[in-house]
């Protein structure tokens, strides 16, 4: 079973996305902020990380950078999730080390397609 680390600070988004993904047969672990995401990436070794960009403590870009710099976690694919639909934000996320990009509100079929391409 594919294990997904969902990094999201908004309770509702977290609840909605995780329930839908669990229904589709994924295993979900959570992190609430950037630092927690870095720690969880090490301890849980998920198959894919879904990373919100606007996070407390350390933002998504910073967390992504640190995960990619750590040799234990560098191979984990990261899909950026953000409400900013503009092209520059997409570029910013991709330049920051994210492997893919999904705009919120999340289109589930498109997200699953992106998750599947990494597993």
């Amino acid at each position: 079973m594919t294990k997904i680390l969902l990094v999201e600070d908004n309770e509702m988004n977290k609840d909605m996305l995780s329930r839908r993904l669990i229904k589709k047969g994924y295993e979900i672990v959570f992190a609430m902020d950037g630092q927690e995401a870095i720690d969880m990436a090490k301890s849980e070794t998920p198959d894919v990380i879904l990373m919100d960009m606007g996070l407390p403590v350390k933002d998504g870009l910073q967390a992504t950078k640190e995960i990619k710099e750590n040799s234990d976690t560098t191979s984990i694919p990261i899909i950026a999730l953000t409400a900013n639909a503009m092209a520059e934000h997409r570029q910013e996320a991709l330049d920051g080390g994210c492997d893919e990009y999904e705009t919120k509100p999340v289109r589930l079929p498109s997200l699953i397609e992106k998750i599947e391409q990494f597993t």
Binding site: M12, M16, R19, M86, Q91
Partner: protein, 442 residues
């Protein structure tokens, strides 16, 4: 309100902006200093004419003359340097008319018959000519003419009976002239100044207000999207669950919540785009790309949309499309907007994407065989929140922002967006953009 204030201020010569009053005072002093030059020079024109021509007759001491000539040359030099530097061409003209008058008087003095000869007609004609070239306001013109004629008449009288001691009194004429011109010009320049400077400030204020509005919109639409995430996500989730559990009555209502959420999201995205363009925050990401590949993507996305209403989707393109250097994301957004519009307003017809390559430009035209527009609707098509008729949005959906955004983006990309339409026959939207966009064309 602001307009009324502006009108009152213009009528009463009062400034709306306190800082403008100070700026104006500075400018006024600078300009007035030129009238002082003007005044001094005029005095010397008359003075020199008299002493140089009538030096023996009037018995003026040569040393007195020499000093005045030297002083005059310095004054002339300073004045013309000043005029050259500040480009106050109007002073050349205010100077020229009285000078002409005095010269005329001098010629009369040398040959009294000339006053009634052909040379005399030249004077009023030349005066007229100057007023045609340089349109001064009525008051200014009136004072120039009156004082010039006065100078002329006084000179005519004086040359016959004048004595050396009386010459300095002649300086009163240019002084009077100067005071009048200064007063009339004060009013004129105040109005001119207000017209330019105050409007400039009002414009900056309006721009700032517009920018604040755009910033607010950009922030707001970001904040609005977060709760929308939940609305769209949860309704989608419930729709899936309702379908699984066979609860069809719920599915239909949930579908309405979901599609309203989606509509709201499109609106917010469009407003965000528009506010970004207006705030000057939307940037071009210029890159070179193979258009053929790009076109395949557009075709894949647009085809199902066009064929939904039973339409045929046709692409007409030259064989060698080659490379484009422009913003491909924006180009895709514009093309997709044109195609989805065509698809929306056409049923069981044809939607054609035609691409024509010119020397340095490329034209993309989307032609449909749909409902078309009449002249009035055509005129409003690029206005924000306008669809041809308010009733059409009920039947066809849409935010009314897609086309204004596309038009603005096309302009950013150095191109133009055009529309042709005939009611009942169909519509053609087209954009023509440079194949290689230059940075400054933004």
């Amino acid at each position: 309100m602001a307009e009324l204030e502006e009108q009152i201020s213009r009528l009463t010569c009062k400034f709306i902006e306190p800082e403008l009053e100070n700026k104006y005072k500075e400018m006024k002093w600078e300009k007035n200093s030129n009238y002082i030059w003007n005044l001094m020079i005029l005095g010397h024109i008359i003075f020199l004419l008299i002493i140089l021509d009538d030096i023996k007759q009037l018995g003026i001491q040569p040393i007195y003359v020499t000093v005045h000539i030297i002083c005059s040359f310095i004054l002339y030099f300073l004045l013309f340097y000043e005029l050259y530097r500040k480009e106050y061409y109007d002073i050349y003209f205010t100077l020229a008319i009285p000078t002409l008058m005095v010269n005329g008087a001098y010629h009369y003095y040398m040959d009294p018959d000339a006053l009634f000869g052909p040379g005399a007609a030249a004077l009023p004609l030349l005066t007229l000519l100057f007023f045609t070239i340089y349109p001064v306001d009525f008051l200014n013109g009136f004072f120039i003419v009156t004082t010039s004629v006065a100078a002329f008449l006084i000179y005519l009288l004086e040359v016959d009976i004048i004595s050396g001691e009386q010459i300095p009194y002649l300086l009163v004429i240019p002084f009077v002239y100067g005071v009048f011109v200064k007063r009339s010009n004060e009013f004129k320049s105040r109005v001119d100044y207000m017209k330019t400077e105050e409007l400039k400030i009002l414009r900056v204020k309006a721009q700032n207000a517009s920018k604040a509005k755009s910033d607010f919109l950009a922030n707001m639409s970001h904040e609005l999207r977060t709760p929308l995430n939940a609305i769209i996500g949860y309704s989608e989730m419930l729709m899936e669950e309702a379908e699984d559990d066979g609860l069809d009555t719920y599915s239909e209502d949930l579908e309405k919540i979901n599609s309203s959420g989606e509509h709201l999201l499109t609106l917010i995205n469009d407003i965000l785009d528009l506010s970004k363009i207006e705030a000057g925050k939307m940037e071009l990401h210029i890159e070179e790309f193979e258009f053929e590949k790009h076109l395949n993507q557009i075709e894949a996305t647009a085809k199902p949309l066009v064929e939904k209403n039973g339409n045929e989707f046709v692409i007409e393109k030259p064989d060698n499309l080659g490379k484009l250097t422009n913003d491909q994301t924006k180009l895709r957004q514009i093309l997709f907007n044109m195609l989805s519009n065509a698809a929306k307003f056409t049923k069981k017809g044809t939607v054609t994407l035609g691409i024509t390559k010119y020397d340095k430009k490329v034209r993309f035209a989307v032609t449909d065989t749909g409902i078309g527009m009449n002249a009035e609707q055509l005129g409003k098509v690029f206005e924000e929140f306008t669809q041809a008729e308010s009733s059409t949005s009920k039947d066809y959906g849409g935010t009314g922002l897609g086309l204004p955004i596309s038009k603005k983006m096309t302009k950013m990309m150095g191109g133009v967006m055009e529309v042709e339409s005939e009611e009942g026959r169909g519509t053609t939207f087209s954009i023509t953009i440079p194949i290689v966009v230059q940075e400054e064309e933004k």
